[in-house]
């Protein structure tokens, strides 16, 4: 009887999930719909005559955008890790005077709306002449991830036993050596979490891309989709196909690293 009841609950759960994920299904469905059926009323619920013309368009139009996004994503991950891991180590284990002020500032930093950062960066980049460049966008995107990275790493590194570090010191290891050879390898899991989110956020970024890289030669995929929507309002299968392709990193990350994702949401309940 107990199991019978739980199957009912599972059924309700499946229905709820289906409702929640319907917009994503619809995106896939539309991406496979032939252009001639796009304005059909009512629309087809299933891609009965799937076409890949949308995806062919993506391959011919959007590959450079995808490549740019990949480069920016990787750049953001590297910059975020390099900046946040050492700082977190110091905050968690070396505990300097004033460290708490830094943690506080990092907490506040995450609350600043992106549009305000974008305007400040725009004014600065215009003077420096690095508008519409990939490094400029990497720097801007990293501001979303660095405070989060420091907070996640700090939380994790606090849990590393002090005895482990004392042992290293007795063996004559310098602070840097302790950090590199002991703390970093132990923190591998939190490195994955921070990298995942840094990549995902820079991949998804639209506000920095549209303000700081609106006229560059190398633009990210979010601008690619935005251009599509603006230019050919009619070809929704191509737009949705691009959207599906742009969602791949999120899907891959969720499948491969689900527990890290959940860890990131809850531990760093400070996401923007």
């Amino acid at each position: 009887m107990k199991t019978r009841r739980s199957w009912w609950i599972t059924l309700i759960g499946v229905v709820l999930t289906a409702v929640m994920l319907f917009p994503i299904y619809w995106m896939v469905n539309v991406s496979l719909t032939p252009q001639s059926d796009m304005r059909k009323s009512p629309p087809d619920l299933f891609p009965l005559q799937p076409t890949f013309e949308g995806y062919q368009k993506v391959l011919s139009d959007q590959l450079p955008y995808l490549g740019t996004s990949l480069v920016i994503g990787i750049g953001t991950v590297v910059l975020t890790l390099v900046l946040s891991a050492p700082a977190a180590f110091a905050l968690a284990k070396l505990r300097p005077r004033g460290g708490n002020v830094l943690s506080f500032v990092l907490l506040i930093a995450q609350m600043i709306p992106g549009i305000i950062m974008a305007m400040g960066f725009y004014a600065i980049y215009l003077n420096l002449g690095i508008l519409n460049t990939i490094p400029g966008l990497i720097l801007a995107d990293s501001t979303i991830a660095v405070p989060f990275g420091v907070l996640i790493f700090t939380a994790f590194m606090r849990g590393i036993p002090d005895e482990l570090m004392a042992a290293a010191r007795i063996d004559g290891a310098s602070t840097w050596r302790t950090f590199r050879s002991i703390v970093l390898p132990v923190s591998r899991n939190s490195m994955v979490t921070v990298s995942l989110f840094a990549f995902l956020w820079s991949w998804s970024d639209f506000i920095f891309a549209s303000t700081l890289n609106s006229a560059g030669t190398a633009q990210p995929i979010t601008i690619g989709i935005y251009r599509y929507i603006g230019n050919n309002n009619q070809e929704w299968n191509a737009i949705m196909a691009t959207a599906v392709v742009a969602s791949i990193p999120a899907a891959v990350l969720l499948v491969l690293a689900q527990r890290y994702v959940a860890a990131g949401v809850t531990a760093g309940a400070v996401k923007d």
Binding site: L21, S41, A109
Partner: protein
């Protein structure tokens, strides 16, 4: 974890034994490192400290500077922008868009929070029953939150399309006339709200679910013995005990929702007219919406937004310090 940092930084507020025990467990023996150690610590922190000054403080300063001067495109070339005190703020406050934008920002934020939180809570309680597949389904619920906002916004745009959207097709099937979701002033704010609520549900679900995991099962067992039904258990046990987690979820939601830009810009561009224009959208439209950026008033609007976010942020930190033990 952030609560621990705060409680340490203030040294008061958390007087309960549990908090003290947790702080001690996390920080270990509070031993001041030697002088050389302190220098090493700052060497490790220096990159981030410099980074914060150059890439946070300086842009914010530039933004403030923009809002107090009269910048034009020329100003960036010849470096001349007259200092005009608060005249940008005055003209923004007198602008016809100000009151609609304020009302839209408030409506958008409050309605989003109410629905995201209550639906997230209902789902958290539902998934907490631990039925077969519950973990998998819960993971699938995260997908909308991980997708690029631009992708979600495009998908919703097409679903809500007046002529060919699935939503109007379904409504038509039950005899409700077509609704101009994105193109009529009455419905545009509702449309972006629907999309934003959909995106925010997973976040609320995950945080509240983790809160549920921390409630001891003994309390529920005791309540069952006393004959409490599920409804009573929720309102008398779950809801009161989740108060600290709820406060944090809601305040983070507030700060997050104030920032929302992508969804509204893609779906309606704040229109028609200013019917779905929030402060974030208004600021962007002034600054980057036209060929000639008008950065000074845009920065003024942005600074008003940051003021609201800052006030809410301070409430968040206060609430977190007081509630999460």
């Amino acid at each position: 974890m952030t609560a621990t940092q705060i409680s340490e930084s203030t040294g008061h507020g958390d007087t309960t034994r549990r908090a003290a025990a947790r702080t001690a467990a996390l920080t270990g023996p509070a031993r001041r490192p030697r002088r050389t150690g302190r220098w090493a610590a700052w060497a490790f922190i220096a990159p981030v400290a410099i980074y914060l000054i150059v890439f946070y403080a300086y842009p914010l300063y530039r933004n403030l500077d923009l809002s107090l001067r009269d910048y034009t495109v020329r100003s960036f070339i010849d470096g001349n922008a007259p200092f005009v005190w608060f005249s940008n703020y005055v003209s923004v406050l007198q602008d016809a868009t100000f009151w609609p934008a304020l009302a839209n920002t408030a409506t958008f934020t409050l309605v989003s929070i109410v629905f995201q939180y209550s639906i997230g809570m209902a789902l958290a309680v539902f998934f907490f029953q631990r039925f077969p597949l519950s973990a998998t389904l819960r993971a699938l619920f995260l997908v909308p939150w991980l997708l690029p906002l631009l992708v979600s916004a495009s998908a919703w745009s097409w679903m809500l399309n007046s002529d060919s959207g699935i939503v109007n097709a379904v409504l038509g099937a039950v005899g409700v006339g077509p609704v101009n979701w994105l193109t009529s002033p009455q419905w545009s704010l509702v449309s972006v709200l629907i999309a934003n609520i959909w995106i925010g549900i997973p976040f609320n679900l995950v945080i509240l679910y983790s809160g549920l995991q921390n409630i001891s099962t003994d309390i529920y067992e005791a309540a069952s013995i006393d004959g409490a039904n599920a409804w009573q258990k929720f309102w008398r046990i779950t809801f009161p005990l989740l108060r600290p987690v709820s406060a944090i979820t809601i305040l983070l939601g507030l700060v997050y929702t104030l920032k929302v830009f992508d969804i509204i810009w893609i779906m309606t561009r704040g229109g028609p007219g200013s019917s779905s224009t929030t402060f974030a959208i208004w600021s962007y439209r002034l600054g980057f919406g036209s060929a000639l950026p008008d950065l000074s008033p845009a920065a003024a609007v942005g600074n008003l937004l940051i003021l609201i976010a800052l006030i809410l942020g301070l409430i968040y930190i206060r609430a977190q310090r007081r509630l999460e033990v």
